[in-house]
Structure formats: structure tokens, C-alpha cells
Symmetry: C2
Subunit: 417 residues, 2 copies
């Protein structure tokens, strides 16, 4: 049996199980999650032992510190996984929600009802907690799930995936609804992307290599690859507020997609704003790169190259540019941003209104940090990623974004004339 | 300059124009549509003359009667095109609609606001009215549009596309927002499907050849290819109502995707229901194919092959199967249907509830004809296709389904802790 045949066989079982899970009552899905949380807690030693194997192998293979750090589980992280599952159990079930309902003049009653998407494949990298989070979120929203984690976390993931199957079985739900692909062959991703009849959506969570591997996918993708986020400090900004927002956007967690990469400053207030702002960044260890005018005001900034404006640093590096107008700021963001999260700091209501209308990004902020682009911060109670897509779901994704809808139409014999 | 370079150059202009159109006020978009409707009316003779060339060429090329019929425009059809544009002008503008709005405990105010998708390509076949309809719908919803019609309608479409550009210009909107690809080279579709940075969505309107041509598209597709629709006459059906619904579903317009292809009948009422139903179908010229039990009751039916249950006839042909239970009907629909439109006829509320929950189709009917699966019949005021997709839009698509959303977040200096 080829790898492809083997995977297709399993995917057929997932599809069948997903049909049953789609009809499962909320209580049963929640019972499954509660069992899963309990199993994670009671299997802590076993999970950490499996993880120890992965971590040692990663260290032997010479992986960097940050990589090993992401891979490592300890008692605290295991407890956090269990807590996350418990929280997902408390969230409202999106399935069955009546989104809209109306009556037609001919008496037909049309209801738009939320239903699961079907089968969702999550392709991710080294963080093993994604195995649990992704399974909990997709199963709670009534979907079958195909999990494909990084090979470095394989032993940990196999251990966690078994807990998921056990919890499904214990709650009387089909264990095949979750399929962890334990084969580390890179070809697996190629097989998955060729199965539009068996997988409804692939959510990739990873970097450029994953993006390339998924090119030409016949299965729709919901990518969230790039985050080149801007903050524009307008001439009418409260400069103290601007400093707090910019500092937070850059420094609170520089490695994530909603961190600021480019800072735009209106020329009128640049001399007043930039020196103190730059000092604060430099104290925090941020490397500054600036346009010519910025470098004249901030001697510690080194000249930015053209490539800098299009770079997602994901690190303590910031590109700063002085602009002469709101128009120039909007134009710059349109050209260099990744349409994920961009902010204006201003007390000018008209400037704010133009910015929020004309900047075409998933999340547009007035007087707040771009770091709020996150399912939890939005109040979704969970996050299955942040979409930079324009179709289906855009921005932070919660449970609802893992569903579609159908129309249920009640008549009393109507026919079309 | 290669074909690809030429098209990419034009697509860049569409992208730029779409950015401006996305911000255009409703009144201006409506003024454009009113001008377009007027131009269609006053250019009737010119349109029909251009169409005459296409029709004659199609006849010389030996195309069938139905094909030529779809291609042909006359004064009445030109008037209908103008009327359709006028109607689209009266529809509410989806752009700017606040879908949801809420406040977070930290005081952030989050609004989910409807915005255009961006640039939409419509790839269609010989009906020239699609040029006008698709342009009007995509432009009204603030999107740039790339129109790629069938080569047989080229002269007609070029004439219509010029009216669209003129109307955009006359209303002070960027004429580049609509790009009709006049080059009949089949390679055009291959070029379009490789431009995910310039086209946000391709809506294909056509048959299997188009489906194959678009395989491997890097641009997301919203297909509506197949319609294998079922009607299930339950044992608790009102048989007179069932006969009207089945007759309407099969015969009112057999060539469309929401027409019934498979009829399922509960064994208990088959002997009472089928003979009269079959007689009515036969009188209308419907060819009947049946399972063994059906053929025993309806001698005029010829035995159905396995392939019949999976065939979209789009014609006066119907496959009939007797089933022993609601479960068998649901299972059959799941296996053979295309998840577009399926109906149950029953007075048993429990059977209806199970059917509407368990049949996973875009539109599920209780006691009504599947022929209602249509944007106008749903009250959307327009239709840009019927999606068999699960992502983004499912079922009949109106203006709203051509939009996405962004989140606009207002703060007063909030930073993420």
C-alpha cells in the first residue's frame, strides 16, 4: 500500500466520522473535552517523558535554543494545555446557531443555520500544544480534524493524539474524527493538498517553507503567513500615548505576527516625538533603521534599505520613516503592509476616519496597539489562527470561523412559477 | 510583450482602480449603473448588430440550436439587461455595513465592517447578458472585475464591455475597474489562475471543460458546477402535494442546476404514489429510469444503471428509487447528491427535523420544490451564482457574498499587557 493509499483510507474514515460528529449534541462534545482535560492532567508524567525524547533528539540535531524552547513541555505547560481545553468546553457551541431567518412573500420560511465546515487539516510546526488546541477547537465546532505536526515533536504529539482519540471514544463519539498523521515523511503534505473531496480546508501554521510546500493546493487554504504591521503617529497624536502604543506594539512580544515592523511618523511632530521614542527603544535593545530624515534626528538609527520596508523582522528591529501627510502614510501601508494589523495614533477624528476607511487591513486600530489582533483579545474565547485571507474568514479566527452554513427552507407545498 | 505580461499589466490597473472603487460613495456607484442602463437602452441597435455577427459565426461553425439560442440577443433581451442593471442600482449597498459591534472590558470598541473582496474574475460561457450582470453586481459591491466571456460571444461582449467602461468614466469612477479580456486565446484562463496577488476570487460559470481548465488555480475559486438534487417522498407525505413538488422540481426548467435528478419514494406509499406521478411525467415527455422495484410498479420506466444515480441529466430524464426508510433516503442523498438542494415531502415533523439536520446540503427543503434555490427567490434581489463551496459563501449568492469584512478598533491608548 502506498503512502497515498494509506492516507486516503484514513481520510475516508475521518470524513465518515465527521458526518457523525457534525450531528453530535453539544453536551457530548463538551464531555469529551472535559475527559481530555482530565487525561492531560493525569498523564502529565507520560507526556513530559515523551517530550523529553523529542527535546533530546532536537538538541542532538543541533537545533537552536529558541527552537528547543518552543518544543519543550513542563508541568506548567501541560497544566496550561488542560486549562485551555477546559475553557473551550465552556464556550458556546457555534453549530446549530440560526444566523438569520426570514419569510418570503410566498410563505417560504428560510433559516440560515450554522453547520461545521467538515474536515479541517491543521499543518503546524514544533509547538506540541497545537495538537491539543487545534483538536479541541475543530472537534468542538463539529469538524473532523487531520493533524500534521512537526517531525521534531513526533513522540510528544503521538502521546497527545492518543489522549484525544481516547477522549472521543470515552464520550461515545467516533475516535476516527481526529487523525494524527504520525508518518514524518514530507510527502504527507503533498498527499493532503491533493484531496479536495476529503479535506475541506487546510490551516497552515508555520513559515515560508510550509507556504512553499502548500503551493498549488487543490484544498482551500486559510493562511496567516505574514505580519508586516504599521503604526502611524499622526501630527495630531497625543505623543505620550503614541509612545506607549508604539513601545507595546514593538516590544511586548516581537516574535509574533501582530508586532509592529514599520513606524511612520508625521514630519511635523517627528523632532518632538522621535528622540525620546528612539531612546526608549534603544534601552530595550531594539535596533533602529530609518529613512534619511529619521537618521538626521536619531543618530543611532542606521539607514534603512528598500528591503527593510518589506521585511517581517519578528525580532527587536524596527524600521522608521517620516511621512509628510496622512495620504503618504496610507499609501505606504498599502504598498508595504501585509494587510493584517495597522494603527493610527491621532486626536483628529477626520484623520482617524480616513485611516480606518482607506487602510485595507484585517484589523485597523485608532489609538490602540496592533498587538490586540488576537482571538482572545477580541473576546472569541479561543483562537484557531489569524487569517490574512480575504475569503471566508479574515483576522482573528474563533470557533465560528470554523463553520459554514446551510439554508433550511420550510414550505407547505410551494412550487416555483 | 507576452500575453502574460500584457494581462498582468492590465490586472495591475484593475487592482489600483478597485482600491478607489472600494471607497466610492453608494450614490456614485448607483449613478454609474443608471448611466449603464440608459446606454444599453440607447445602444440597442448597435448591440444587436454586434450580436448578429457572433450568431452568424456560431451558425456557420455548426453550433447546435440551444447554443445559438443562448447566444442570441434581441430587443426584448437587451431591454431585460437594462432592467436588471436598474434593479441592481436599487439594491442596498453592502459596503460599509456594520455586521457586529461590541466593547471589550478594556474599553476597546470593535466593529466588524463589510468591505469589498477586491478584484473578482468571472469566467463564463456563451450568454452575453452575463457580461452586464456580472459587471453590475461586482462593481455595485465595490469590487474590480475581470470579465472573461466565451469566444463565440466576443463581438457582443466587446460592445457591452465598452458601455460599462463608458458608464464608469461618466460617473467619475475609474474605468479600469472593469477589464474585459477580449483576447480569445485559451491560455488567458491559465494566466488568470496564476495571479493570486492580483485577483482575489475567480467565479467560474460553466461546465466540465471550464472546471478542468481551472484545476490547480492559485486564485481561490467559488464554483457552482454540479446540481444532483433529490426529492424524497416520505411515507407520511401529502401525496397530492408531493406530486406538485416533484413535477415542478423536474419539469419547470430541467436544464438548471436546482432541477431534480433523483426521486426517492418510501416503499410504503410507492404503489399509491408512483403510477399517477409517472403518468404525469411521461405525458410531459420525461424519460423514467428506475430501480427494480420502481420498474415493477411503473412498467414504462427502464432499469436504471448504477451510473444513473450519479448523473446530472439537465434534461427531461429522471431516476426513481424506492427506499425503505428515512435513513436510507438520507444515506442515499449523502452518497449521490451534490449537496446543492434536496427536499423532503412529509407531514411527519420528526422526519422533517431529521432530514433538515442530517442532509448536508447548501439548501434543504421541507415541503417545497428545490427550484427555489436561487438568489432572487431567496430575496437577495440579485444572483452572482449558486455556490457549492463550503468556504466563504454557500448556496445562492447576492451582493453581500461578494464582500469580506475588516475589524475597526477604537481605543484611547490601550496597550496589551
Amino acid at each position: 500500500m502506498t503512502l497515498e493509499d494509506e492516507i486516503i483510507g484514513r481520510l475516508n474514515s475521518v470524513r465518515e466520522a465527521a458526518r457523525r460528529l457534525a450531528l453530535a449534541p453539544t453536551e457530548r462534545k463538551n464531555a469529551m473535552l472535559t475527559k481530555l482535560a482530565g487525561a492531560i492532567k493525569s498523564s502529565g508524567a507520560e507526556i513530559i517523558a515523551a517530550n523529553r525524547h523529542d527535546v533530546e533528539a532536537a538538541e542532538r540535531a543541533g537545533n537552536g535554543k529558541a527552537f528547543v524552547e518552543r518544543l519543550t513541555l513542563n508541568a506548567q505547560r501541560v497544566a496550561a494545555m488542560a486549562r485551555s481545553v477546559e475553557e473551550i468546553a465552556t464556550l458556546p457551541d457555534p453549530v446549530g446557531e440560526i444566523i438569520e431567518k426570514w419569510q418570503r412573500p410566498n410563505g417560504l420560511e428560510i433559516a440560515k443555520v450554522r453547520v461545521p465546515l467538515g474536515v479541517i487539516a491543521i499543518v503546524y510546526e514544533s509547538r506540541p500544544n497545537v495538537t491539543i488546541d487545534a483538536a479541541a477547537l475543530t472537534l468542538k465546532s463539529g469538524n473532523g480534524v487531520v493533524l500534521r505536526g512537526g517531525s521534531e515533536a513526533l513522540k510528544t504529539n503521538v502521546c497527545l493524539a492518543r489522549l484525544v482519540s481516547d477522549a472521543l471514544r470515552a464520550a461515545g463519539l467516533p475516535p476516527d474524527a481526529a487523525f494524527f498523521v504520525a508518518n514524518p515523511d514530507r510527502e504527507v503534505i503533498q498527499v493532503l493538498k491533493r484531496q479536495p473531496a476529503l479535506i475541506d480546508l487546510i490551516i497552515p501554521r508555520g513559515g515560508q517553507a510550509l507556504k512553499r510546500a502548500l503551493e498549488g493546493s487543490a484544498v482551500p487554504l486559510l493562511p496567516h503567513f505574514d505580519g508586516i504591521c504599521h503604526t502611524y503617529v499622526d501630527r495630531a497624536a497625543d505623543l505620550a500615548m503614541a509612545q506607549e502604543i508604539c513601545f507595546n506594539a514593538k516590544c511586548s512580544r516581537p516574535s509574533v505576527c501582530n508586532a509592529m515592523e514599520n513606524l511612520l511618523v508625521h514630519a511635523t511632530i517627528a523632532r518632538e516625538f522621535l528622540p525620546a521614542m528612539a531612546q526608549r527603544f534603544i534601552t530595550e535593545g531594539v535596533e533602529l533603521r530609518g529613512c534619511e530624515r529619521t537618521c538626521a534626528i536619531v543618530p543611532d538609527a542606521r539607514p534603512a534599505t528598500e528591503a527593510d520596508w518589506d521585511t517581517e523582522y519578528l525580532d527587536l528591529v524596527l524600521a522608521i520613516r517620516i511621512v509628510d501627510s496622512l495620504d503618504e502614510a496610507i499609501e505606504f501601508i498599502s504598498r508595504h503592509g501585509s494587510h493584517l494589523a495597522d494603527a493610527i495614533v491621532t486626536n483628529d477624528a477626520q484623520a482617524a476616519a480616513r485611516f480606518e476607511r482607506e487602510v485595507d487591513s484585517a484589523t485597523v486600530y485608532v489609538n490602540a496597539s496592533t498587538r490586540f489582533t488576537d482571538g482572545f483579545e477580541f473576546g472569541f474565547g479561543a483562537e484557531t489562527g489569524i487569517s490574512t485571507n480575504r475569503l471566508h474568514a479574515r483576522g482573528p479566527m474563533g470557533l465560528r470561523e470554523l463553520t459554514t452554513y446551510k439554508y433550511v427552507i420550510h414550505g407547505h407545498g410551494q412550487v416555483r412559477i
